[in-house]
């Protein structure tokens, strides 16, 4: 039973890790590519670490909590690094496949009309 649960967790974790990298390799522009590694890969590594906690805790050597450190660190740092990467890409004006929103072209157009009335 435990072996079954461990196998499922390991395969699902590895699958999500793979899907995250597949998104990184296949998606269209940088801003969509950012989604794959930051969400899917973090979930995949989280599942693998849960599997590892279960595996080492049930070998009769007491509770194994090394993995919690890695999990905590990864879950805290992944959003921070994604935010910094998005900021850097916006700063460098990296090309996006989405058209710019209409307000972005002239942010003062609305107020100017109202002032003229």
């Amino acid at each position: 039973m435990l072996e079954m649960l461990l196998s499922v967790l390991i395969v699902v974790g590895a699958l999500f890790t793979f899907i995250g990298s597949l998104g990184l390799a296949r998606l269209g522009d940088f801003y969509t590519r950012l989604h794959g590694p930051t969400k899917a890969t973090t979930l995949g590594v989280g599942a693998l670490l849960i599997a590892s906690v279960l595996y080492f805790s049930t070998r009769g050597e007491g509770l194994s909590l090394h993995e919690i450190l890695v999990t905590l660190f990864l879950f805290i740092t992944a959003p921070v690094s994604a935010h910094l990467l998005a900021k850097a890409a916006l700063h460098l004006r990296v090309r996006s496949i989405a058209p710019p929103p209409p307000e972005a072209e002239d942010p003062l157009a609305d107020t100017r009309v109202r002032a003229g009335d």
Binding site: E3, M4, L6, S7, V8, I10, V11, G13, A14, L15, T17, F18, G20, S21, L22, L24, A25, F30, R33, L34, G36, P37, T41, T42, G44, V45, L48, L49, A51, S52, Y55, F56, R59, S64, H66, E67, L69, V70, F73, L74, T77, A78, V80, S81, L84, L85, K87, A88, A89, H91, L92, V94, R95
Partner: protein, 89 residues
Amino acid sequence: MLSIAVSIAFALVSGALLLSLFRLLRGPDKPDRILALDTLYINTIALLVLLGIHLSSSLYFEAALLIAMMGFVGTVALCKYLLRGDIIE
């Protein structure tokens, strides 16, 4: 059964590493390459955890923890360089 699952997981994570390497070599912009490096180190953590399960050794977590910390510092330093043109102002 566990050994089969670990073998499948090794193959999948290795494929993920290859896809990240493809983006690292190909990536048209600098943030793409930094994102590929970020993904590479997270995939390496996954591979180390799998290796720990495969060899029944808990030694590899220290390595995984070190990679997690140093990788984050590296990503932040590269992003700061792109944002400011300097790392420590």
